[in-house]
């Protein structure tokens, strides 16, 4: 299942079932927490792999751990998907920053993941590398807004909630991110 195939109702604020699962998870029910996060794992992996493909697996795991540890601070009236996506975007940013530092120390360019041998795959890998470079070059908030909009599929209200800002600020950040992506990746976009 890809992000785009997800249930459209998942974007709605927390359902009663989700609220019950949060309460059960807070009281120590592991299966409840699993049921709570399972529908969002593809989205978490997309965000993590966008900025750091090599560390995406760890990033998802760390995101789940952080999400559970901070579950007590989650506000039930807000979107749980936005709550998870915000943690994933921040975690991915942190991991990518560490990865770039390591790459700099080893006097290599930014990590681009394993090279693909088939030509088509090589073309896809090259496009993914360029997208990642543009994302990584963005200021932190703009980067998170881009990931939350394009990889997590959040609406402006959810992005505002995830970034702890207003809906207007979220719109501005997304607008700036989209403009930068179009400017720098225009040749990759469908005509």
């Amino acid at each position: 299942m890809t992000l785009l195939d997800r249930d459209p109702t998942a974007a709605a604020p927390v359902s009663a079932d989700e609220r019950n699962l949060v309460a059960a998870a807070l009281s120590g029910d592991g299966l409840a927490f699993r049921r709570l996060v399972e529908p969002h794992m593809t989205m978490l992996h997309r965000i993590a792999a966008r900025v750091s493909p090599m560390l995406a697996d760890d990033a998802v795991q760390e995101t789940l751990t952080l999400a559970f540890q901070r579950l007590g601070r989650y506000e039930p009236e807000t979107s749980f998907r936005a709550y998870l996506a915000a943690i994933a975007a921040r975690r991915a940013h942190t991991l990518a920053r560490g990865e770039r530092r390591r790459a700099k120390r080893q006097e290599r360019g930014p990590s681009v993941g394993a090279p693909a041998t088939p030509e088509a795959e090589l073309h896809g890998a090259e496009a993914a590398r360029r997208v990642r470079e543009v994302i990584l070059a963005m200021p932190k908030k703009r980067q998170q807004a881009a990931l939350l909009r394009l990889d997590a599929g959040l609406d402006y209200r959810e992005i505002a909630s995830a970034l702890d800002s207003t809906e207007g600020s979220a719109r501005v950040l997304v607008h700036q991110a989209l403009r930068q992506l179009r400017d720098e990746l225009g040749d990759l976009l469908p005509r």
Binding site: G30, G124, D155
Partner: protein, 170 residues
């Protein structure tokens, strides 16, 4: 396509979809198991949780240090603080000498003749420097150092009493 209702970037969304990294079922199952195991894992302790615990010994030591053995209750065995230890009477005359020496450590100078510990009986050792109790806890022999030598005048008087006792027994 379940994009946000106010989709303003279908072209970029398509590019992101095309260049995304799909996760495998094995990965998803592993993350799901990890999520289910989280409540069983010990929660990470914050470093500042240890600060109050670390200050407890220091606070106890400070409280002991502020307590004065010269308080009015110091002579009352029933209110004896933890820095005093009761010693049973020693029947043997020779050991009674040791008891006298221990008793002599009660105070630097008896306040009056009524305070003079006198001959063998229940004795208390008042530790002059309570902080040193903590230092001596790990070394039982070290606690002997807590006994300060009694004043010369008092020691002479008690030795004379000890010799008089031996003389009477002869």
């Amino acid at each position: 396509m379940a994009s946000p209702p106010d989709d303003d970037a279908p072209d970029l969304r398509a590019l992101f979809e095309q260049t995304s990294h799909p996760s495998t079922p094995a990965q998803q199952e592993r993350w799901a198991r990890h999520a289910a195991s989280l409540p069983d894992q010990p929660r990470r302790r914050r470093w500042w949780w240890f600060v109050p615990a670390a200050t407890i010994p220091a606070m106890v030591a400070m409280a002991i240090a502020m307590w004065s053995p010269d308080d009015e209750t110091a002579g009352d065995a029933s209110d004896a603080p933890s820095t005093t230890a009761a010693i049973a009477p020693v029947p043997n005359a020779e050991l009674a000498g040791l008891d006298l020496l221990l008793a002599a450590a009660d105070d630097e100078e008896p306040k009056s003749s009524a305070d003079d510990p006198g001959l063998p009986g229940p004795r208390r050792i008042v530790i002059q420097d309570p902080l040193r109790v903590l230092d001596g806890l790990g070394d039982p022999l070290g606690s002997l150092e807590l006994l300060r030598p009694p004043p010369r005048r008092q020691l002479d008087r008690q030795l004379a009493a000890f010799e008089a006792t031996l003389e009477e027994e002869r």
